[in-house]
Amino acid sequence: MCGIVGIYLKTKKYEKSLGKFLSGMLDNMATRGPDSAGFAIYTKENQNNFKYSICLNNLSEQDFKKKISKYFKKIKMIKYSDHIIMETKDKPKEVIKVINEKIKDVSIVGYGKSINIFKQTGNPKDVVKKFKLSSFSGTHGIGHTRMATESAITTEGSHPYCTAEDECLVHNGSLSNHNNVRRDLIKKGQEFKSENDTEVAAGYISNKISEGSNLKNTLTSSLKNLDGFYTFIAGTKDGFALLRDEIACKPAVVAETKDYVAVASEFQAMAHLPNVNSAKIFEPKPGVVYSW
């Protein structure tokens, strides 16, 4: 089943409440996906530093600090439960290489100049509390509650998937040709951490964008190249885009007011948002890319 949510703020009015809004949305979607949850919060772009969202797994913060400071000197860290947001001037290419090769105990769940990603197994209601999502402010965010189907209930199997700088994807549905697409992308140099179908879709999107395509055209091309059922929300530092496959088995509803655009699998996910009852509410059409 799975639940997906997204909120994009059109004005600054609710920036401080973004985390609170998204937290409520995930909470209300716990029934659609009780196995794990995750979310990406976008904050204002930090021109100088990169942010790395890292899941410590079983490593302690001290041990991670000790290990990472052997390679990078000027780093800042904030810990949220078993995740760390690490800020540094060092570029993704080097940092990812070092972490993947030298500090194998931890995993990078996201990176970029404005993205913060947290994801973990467990009921979404507990996951949002654990990471104190309601205390976050930001410009836009997307989230996911997972009912696991094609791969195991693990942190790696949780959404969102970040496969490039400030890009991430959440997905409700299942892809049937992900093994083929994964093989093609691996040949092109894309790396994958899990057996999950959504990671393949995220990799597909990042790969297309790195080849110069924009998000809208990339999603349109996925109608041809990704086979299966899906509602996607793909996030970038500027906003997010929404796409349902042409059969449209997987639900989505959009509510738009003058202050925000909210997307969710079901209306009840957004019932707590301000003035939602007078919002323009519609169901996105199948096979059409919507972006904000």
Binding site: P251, A269, A271, I281, E283, K285
Partner: protein
């Protein structure tokens, strides 16, 4: 009588409405703060009048018998699914599979209905004042799907004996669905439905679609195969 879904449990409200004391004169009910809950007013079976103020989730007024349910808002998937009789009015838009498998009664949607509206309908009248999404009236067996706006791709795919009436444009017809003559019988049938529902609309503005009957009948030429 008023119910507030932010204060009272959905199952309690539904249970109350499903078991109305037939000697009581209280026949009008209001539900506030539906907040997208699923299955609101599902399984009603008495001649009562319920108004829901706000947006509902899936299967609102499903399996309805005799009751009249009005939603002042949008509805999620499967509004009035498997309705037997009664009336359901939606003032906003409806999500997928509105009126699915409905056996009887009237479903009136003021806004748009999305994909698969009236899928496998079995006698219900569905009136959509806006447009409908793709694959509407898929495998529809009986009843009328009346669309004031446009219909998206594959309208009436694999249709049996339900009738489809469209005032706007049809993007494409599904397998075995064809345009048919708007005959006197159909015009009178529409007139009767519009009159009952207080809708002022001229039936002659509609085109009629139905089954070519090539898909669901046994082809006698194949008899030799057995």
């Amino acid at each position: 009588m008023n119910f507030d879904l932010s204060k009272k449990k959905l199952t309690d409200i539904n249970k109350y409405l499903q078991n109305i004391d037939r000697k009581s004169n209280v026949r009008k009910f209001k539900i506030e703060n539906p907040s997208g809950h699923h299955a609101i007013c599902a399984g009603l079976k008495d001649d009562i009048d319920v108004t829901i103020n706000g947006h509902t989730g899936y299967y609102c007024a499903g399996m309805n018998q005799k009751a009249s349910v009005t939603v002042n808002g949008n509805v999620g998937t499967g509004v009035a699914e498997n309705m037997m009789s009664g009336k359901v009015f939606v003032k906003g838009n409806a999500s997928q599979s509105a009126g699915a498998t409905g056996h009887g009664g009237n479903l009136v949607i003021e806004g748009d209905a999305s994909s698969r509206c009236g899928i496998s309908m079995k006698g219900i009248n569905i009136i959509v004042k806006g447009s409908v999404g793709h694959m509407s009236a898929f495998m529809a067996q009986k009843g009328n799907l009346i669309i004031f706006g446009d219909a998206d791709e594959d309208l009436g795919d694999s249709i049996y004996e339900a009738k489809i009436f469209v005032k706007g444009k049809v993007k494409s017809l599904g397998a075995d669905c064809v345009e048919k003559k708007m005959d006197e019988k159909s015009i009178n049938e529409l007139k009767k439905i519009f009159k009952e529902l207080n809708i002022s609309e001229n039936p002659k503005n509609f085109k009629r679609y139905g089954s070519a009957r090539k898909l669901y009948n046994f082809k006698i030429d194949n008899a030799g195969a057995y």
